[in-house]
């Protein structure tokens, strides 16, 4: 059975490129090295919810049609539109996004990618403050302090910790895995002892537990990598942490500013910030200042709550300030596997990472105005092209409503929620499984995506479908000019 090695996983922004797939009769039958999401994608992509034929809405129902007809209809919709939105892009290749931008320019529409509803605020803050960052290997080799803030890699980026941070093996820093295992064993052991004693002696465990407490070295004094987790919930990741700071919802901004003061050795005149005792925060701030190389990863817990982009401003400023004392970097935990690539291509071709408006013939950028949710909430768009995304299930109801009212073209392998609303539905190949391309990891490292199996008959990659639509639009326009 052929085994394909060094496959890049097209699920999350970690882009693990060490996946090994076993192929049998043109199907993937075994996945090695992947996480649960990776396995589900490679083994389950060919599921029953796959669309295999292009479809067009006739009399309110989606009916099967030819690819040619679907492309012609899609081109007509876009050529007729005054202000179409082209949205999605983070689950496809950079090559597809590139054609998408050309298409948006041709029809004078708005092209936006999913970062607008995830790390959009992070980008706005970077444009205000800048960002001290690095590639993930730099963290693996050097970081002795890792902070996850408002992000839960255990669920969203399952191999992040093992490949790049606390449990990875670097040149100057070793994996903290062993220490973690000992700690967990001790904890489990302690629980067992406690319950045994409880059963035998029938005393309250709290009274005797003090002298049975395994003696940990204080986390600050300990050598090796340390892990700090800051979150509103005690996530699975938090359980691994040396420090867990449970911040009250929507209070991240206060906490960040408190840290900024603490690392400048200023004293806080309150007992608690964001529900956390100041003494505890002082310990955490100490750990930040006294590390050799710190890395702060932040997730949507920071970008989506409370002060949104002001949270990120404060986080970026905190890390920037920390560079006066030591080496510290910060990185957003990007979700979709190629959301970074969508930003990257958009930036080199138009100057702007997302929410690019071509209605005046040149790239214009003003998130809040040219961003897709706002365009939809203002009910301005008169057609939509959605590629490799499911905005109807991700956007607030009000925005999704206008999207569903627009003549809607969907290019996606799945019959997702948006696809069910489509007027033209063109099924596509899975990028990274049935089509090759390039994706950018969350740290901006470009990694090739492989084609490991053939797509079903007649199914094309996004890039090719878009090229055909673009060619068809140009034909229509030429005809109109001639007429």
């Amino acid at each position: 059975m052929p085994v394909v090695k060094a496959v890049t996983c097209p699920v999350c922004g970690s882009l693990c490129d060490d996946i090994e797939l076993t192929i049998e009769n043109g199907r993937i039958v075994k996945v090695k090295n992947g996480c649960a999401m990776c396995e589900a994608k490679f083994l389950g992509y060919c599921c029953e919810h796959r669309v295999l034929k292009p479809m067009i809405r006739k009399d309110g129902e989606l009916v099967k049609t030819s690819l040619k007809e679907a492309i012609r209809r899609a081109a007509e919709i876009l050529a007729e539109a005054n202000y179409p939105v082209l949205y999605g892009w983070s689950n496809t290749s950079c090559e597809a996004t590139s054609v998408g931008i050309e298409l948006a320019e041709e029809v004078g529409g708005v092209i936006d990618n999913t970062s607008v509803v995830c790390h959009g605020p992070s980008i706005l803050s970077i444009q205000d403050v800048g960002i001290p960052s690095c590639t993930l290997g730099q963290i693996r080799h050097r970081a002795d302090l890792i902070v996850y803030w408002g992000s839960n890699p255990w669920s969203a980026h399952p191999r992040h910790i093992e490949r790049y941070t606390s449990f990875s093996e670097g040149r100057f820093e070793k994996s903290a895995w062993r220490g973690y295992v000992t700690k967990i064993k001790a904890l489990v052991g302690r629980k067992k002892i406690q319950s045994a004693i409880k059963r035998l002696v029938l005393k309250k465990p709290s009274q005797i537990s003090t002298h049975l407490e395994p003696t940990f070295v204080s986390p600050i004094m300990r050598k090796g990598r340390k892990l700090i987790v800051i979150d509103v919930r005690r996530t699975k990741t938090a359980e691994m942490a040396d420090f867990f700071v449970q911040v009250e919802p929507n209070k991240d901004y206060e906490l960040l500013q408190a840290f900024r003061a603490l690392i400048r050795d200023q004293e806080l005149a309150v007992d608690k910030v964001a529900g956390v005792p100041v003494e505890y925060l002082e310990d955490v701030a100490d750990a930040m200042v006294s590390c050799d190389f710190g890395a702060l990863f932040f997730g949507l817990g920071l970008t989506m709550s409370g002060a949104k982009l002001r949270n990120i401003d404060a986080a970026l400023s905190l890390v920037r300030d920390l560079n006066m004392r030591t080496k510290f970097i910060i990185m957003p935990m990007r979700g979709h596997f190629n959301v970074t690539g969508a930003n990257t291509v958009s930036t080199w071709q138009t100057g702007y990472p997302y929410a690019v408006d071509f209605s005046l013939g040149y790239p214009r950028y003003n998130p809040g105005e040219t961003s897709v949710v706002d365009v939809l909430l203002r009910k301005e768009s008169d057609a939509a092209l959605i590629v490799a995304s499911d905005p109807v299930s991700n956007f607030p109801h009000k925005a999704a409503e206008h999207l569903a009212e627009n003549p809607l073209i969907v290019i996606d392998p799945h019959m997702n929620v948006t696809a069910q609303m489509a007027d033209v539905l063109i099924p596509s190949a899975f990028v990274g499984i049935e089509a090759a391309g390039t994706a950018y990891r969350m740290d901006h490292v470009p990694i090739p995506l492989k084609k490991v199996v053939n797509p079903p008959r007649g199914i094309l990659p996004d890039e090719e479908i878009l090229r055909r639509i673009l060619a068809e639009i140009r034909k229509i326009k030429k005809k109109q000019e001639a007429a």
Binding site: G44, V117, M415, V417
Partner: protein, 135 residues
């Protein structure tokens, strides 16, 4: 019977690994639907409301109201904070306002929770038909 118990809470929406895996199975799959039509609650809060694991509850915000299944949070304690995974159910009640930066508010939305054992959790198709009259 007295007035129904009602709890004021803060709503967070976000990713879970079940939702991540379910998503890869396809958005119409049972795995996906079951992974996103739930609401994780602090057990103490559930006690206050008198709801058990898997009881239907109604979550309401200024923007809408939706019925989902209550689920005991493994990440407690987080009193007065509830969590619904990203998906069509959460979207009914999140805040569409982008405050001029392009992103709606998906986290930290004031909400109320009440038991709704008599109301059904809508399936994906019913939910969409109700909302969009299309599909």
């Amino acid at each position: 019977m007295g007035e129904k118990p009602k709890l004021r809470v803060t709503l967070l929406t976000g990713r879970t690994i079940e939702q991540g895996v379910g998503k890869e199975h396809g958005k119409s799959s049972k795995e996906y639907v079951e992974s996103v039509s739930v609401c994780y609650m602090d057990p103490e809060d559930m006690k206050k409301l008198g709801v058990k694991d898997k009881t239907n509850i109604q979550v309401s915000t200024a923007f809408g109201s939706v019925v989902v299944k209550a689920q005991k949070s493994l990440r407690a304690p987080h009193p007065s904070v509830i969590f619904i995974p990203y998906g069509p159910w959460a979207n009914v009640i999140v805040d569409p306002e982008t405050h001029g930066i392009g992103m709606p508010s998906f986290k930290g939305i004031p909400a109320t929770v009440e038991p709704a054992p008599e109301k059904p959790v809508l399936g994906l198709k019913e939910l969409l038909e109700l909302q969009f009259r299309k599909g």
